[in-house]
Amino acid sequence: MNRFTKNLHYFSPTGKAGLIILSLFFLMAVFSARLTTHPHDVSSGKALMPPCFDHVLGTDDIGVDLWSQLVYGARISLLVGFLTAGISGCFGALVGMFAGYTGGWMDRFFMRIIDGMMVLPDLPVMIVLAAFFGPGLAQVILVLSLFSWVFTARIVRSRVLVIKQKEYVIYARISGAGPVYLMRKHLFPEVLPLVWVSMIRLAGKAIVAEAGLSFLGLGDPTSRSWGLIIYHATRFPGIYYTRFWTWWLLYPFLALSGMVLALAFVCRDLETLADPRMNQKISGGV
C-alpha cells in the first residue's frame, strides 16, 4: 500500500481523474443493490418515460428503469474487462517469457502465431467465433481473450530478450542458475510492470469489444450490459426520430466512454511509470 501511495505521487492530473472515475465505477458495481430502487430486469413503470424523480434516467421501451440497468451493467463491463485482461495478460506473459527465454525455433513458432493473430481482422473473426460458441458471458470473455493475449506476449518477449543479455543474468547462468530460478528471480519482476500496463490497456479494449459484440446481438442476452442497452435502443423503431435517444442511448454511451477514457488515462500514466528509464527514479523513492 505504501508503494501504491508513493507511485500515486507520479500520476498526472488526468491519471488521478482516471483513477477516481474507475473507483466510482467499481463502487457502482459493488453496491449496485443499494444504489438502485428499481429492479434492472423487470418493468417498473410506464414505457419510455423521460428522466424524472422516480426514474432518474427514465425507462426503456418495456418500462425497465435505465439507471438500474446502467448500474448493473457496470458489473458486466468490469467483469468482462478485467477477466479478459487477467486471462490474456497471464497467458500472454507466460507465452512471451517462454518464447523469449527459450529462443530458437520455439520463439519463431510463437512469433509467427502472434503475427498472424495481429493481422487477422479481429471483429469479423470474433463475430464468427461468438456465433460458433453461442451467446453467453463466458463465451464473450473467451473470445476476447483469444485475441488479446498476443499483445502482452509480444511486449513481454521483447523485454525478456533484452534482460536475457544483461550481465547479472549471465552471472546467474554461469553460477548454474536454472530456467525456473532465472524466470522467478530476474525475469518476472522486471516484466511484471509491463504486464500490468498491457492488462489495463486490454481491459479498455475488451470493454469496448464486449459492447460491440452485444450491440451486434452476440452478447449474453440475459445480462444487461451497456452494449446491450445500446443494442436494444438502436433496434427500437423510430429511435432516431424521437427524443428517446437523449436518455436511452446517451447515458450508456457516456458511461462506456467514461470508463474507457479513465482506463486509457490510468494506462498512460502507468506506462511512464513502467518505463525502464523511469525505474530508478521510482525505486529510489522520494
Binding site: 550481465e167 554461469i174 553460477s175 548454474g176 530476474h186 530508478q280 529510489g284
Partner: protein, 330 residues
C-alpha cells in the same frame, strides 16, 4: 604444435587452466533454409595455460575474440573444437555435481558496472545470490559473509540494503568483485572489468584485485584492450589478433622486447607523455573474421610483410622465452 605446447606448459607451473587448441566458431546462416554458409572464427585454435594464483592478461583490438574466449571458458558459448582442462578436469560434457562445483570455482566480473547488478535487488541480495543458490552456508551466515566481503572490497556496512543505482561505477564494480569472491572461486574472468571506469578508479580497482589475489590466491584472466592496465596486474600477457594468439610471454618480455610486429605496434600506440620519436602505426581495418586473409592473418596490415606471409600460416614458436607466431622472427 605439440612440442610447442610442451614448451609453453613448462613456462607455467601448477596449471589451473589448460586451454588446448580452442575453437569457438559462430555459424553464419543465409537464405530461406538457414543454411550454414560459413563460420566466423571468433576463437581459432588458441592454446593457453594459466597457473594457480597467476594472472594472464589478454589483449587485442575489439573484435579479435578475447571476450569470446573468456565466455567460452565459462561455458557461455558452444565450443567448436579443442579442449579446456580446469584443474585437471575436462570441461566438456560435465554434468551434475562436478559441473556445479566447477561453476562455483569459475567466476566472472563484467565490463558494464551497472548492468552487472540487478537494479531490483539490494546489494546484499546480489552479493549473496550465488552463496544462497549453492547453499554454501545457511542464510544468516551468507549475509554475514556478504557483509565482510563488502567491507573487504572497500564498501561501508550501510551499503548493504541500498540499490545499485545509488553507487558509482567503481563501487558497482567492487560489488561485482565481492559477488564473484563470495563463491570462493579459483579462477575469475575479468572481462574489460575496469575499461568503463575513470583512470583513477581503474587503478583502485586493479589494486584491489591484486590485493585479493595475494590474500585468496585465485587466478585471473584479465581481458582488456589497455596494455598499460594489463602490464600492471598481469604475470603473463597473451596478444590476440583475429582469433589467434600471436604472442605470449611474461609481462616484461612483451612490454620491453615485443617480437611480433602487431605487438610492437600495440605497444607503440600506448600514449606516453613526452615520448618522442617515430611510432610504428598499423594501417587499415581488422579483416573480417568470416573470411580471414590467407597465410598470416596480420599480413595485409603488417609493415614488414614478405611473400611467405601471404601463403603460409605461421605457427607459435618459442623464441627467447616468448611464444610468437611470425615468419620473420628467428
Amino acid at each position: 604444435m605439440a612440442s610447442e605446447q610442451r614448451k609453453q606448459s613448462t613456462m607455467v607451473e601448477n596449471k589451473l587452466l589448460d586451454i588446448r587448441n580452442l575453437e569457438t566458431w559462430f555459424p553464419v546462416k543465409r537464405g530461406i533454409l538457414s543454411r550454414t554458409v560459413g563460420h566466423v572464427k571468433a576463437v581459432d585454435g588458441v592454446s593457453l595455460v594459466i597457473g594457480k594464483g597467476e594472472t594472464l592478461g589478454l589483449v587485442g583490438e575489439s573484435g579479435c575474440g578475447k571476450t569470446t574466449l573468456g565466455r567460452s571458458l565459462l561455458g557461455l558459448e558452444r565450443i567448436h573444437g579443442g579442449e579446456i582442462f580446469f584443474d585437471g578436469t575436462n570441461l566438456h560434457g560435465l554434468t551434475g555435481n562436478v559441473l556445479r562445483d566447477v561453476r562455483r570455482r569459475m567466476q566472472m566480473v563484467f565490463q558494464d558496472p551497472l548492468s552487472s547488478l540487478n537494479p531490483r535487488m539490494s546489494v546484499l541480495d546480489s552479493v549473496t545470490e550465488g552463496m544462497k543458490a549453492f547453499q554454501l552456508s545457511n542464510a544468516r551466515e551468507c549475509d554475514e559473509k556478504g557483509l565482510s566481503l563488502l567491507k573487504e572490497v572497500g564498501l561501508s556496512g550501510d551499503a548493504l540494503f541500498r540499490y545499485p543505482h545509488e553507487f558509482s561505477g567503481g563501487q558497482c564494480q567492487r560489488i561485482s568483485i565481492a559477488r564473484a569472491l563470495s563463491m570462493r572461486p579459483d579462477f575469475i574472468v575479468c572481462d574489460e572489468a575496469v575499461s568503463a571506469l575513470d583512470v583513477s578508479v581503474q587503478a583502485q580497482v586493479v589494486n584491489l584485485l591484486i590485493d585479493l589475489q595475494e590474500k585468496y590466491g585465485q587466478s585471473y584472466l584479465f581481458i582488456s584492450h589497455d596494455l598499460s592496465v594489463v602490464s600492471h596486474i598481469a604475470d603473463h600477457i597473451a596478444v590476440m589478433y583475429l582469433g589467434k594468439v600471436v604472442e605470449y610471454g611474461s609481462v616484461s618480455a612483451i612490454i620491453h622486447t615485443p617480437l611480433h610486429p602487431y605487438t610492437q605496434a600495440l605497444i607503440d600506440a600506448v600514449p606516453v607523455p613526452g615520448k618522442q620519436g617515430k611510432k610504428r602505426v598499423i594501417k587499415g581495418e581488422t579483416p573480417s573474421p568470416m573470411s580471414p586473409p590467407s597465410g598470416c592473418p596480420f599480413h595485409p596490415r603488417c609493415p614488414e610483410a614478405e611473400t611467405i606471409c601471404k601463403s603460409q600460416v605461421p605457427e607459435l614458436k618459442s623464441l627467447s622465452g616468448c611464444l610468437v607466431s611470425c615468419h620473420l622472427r628467428h
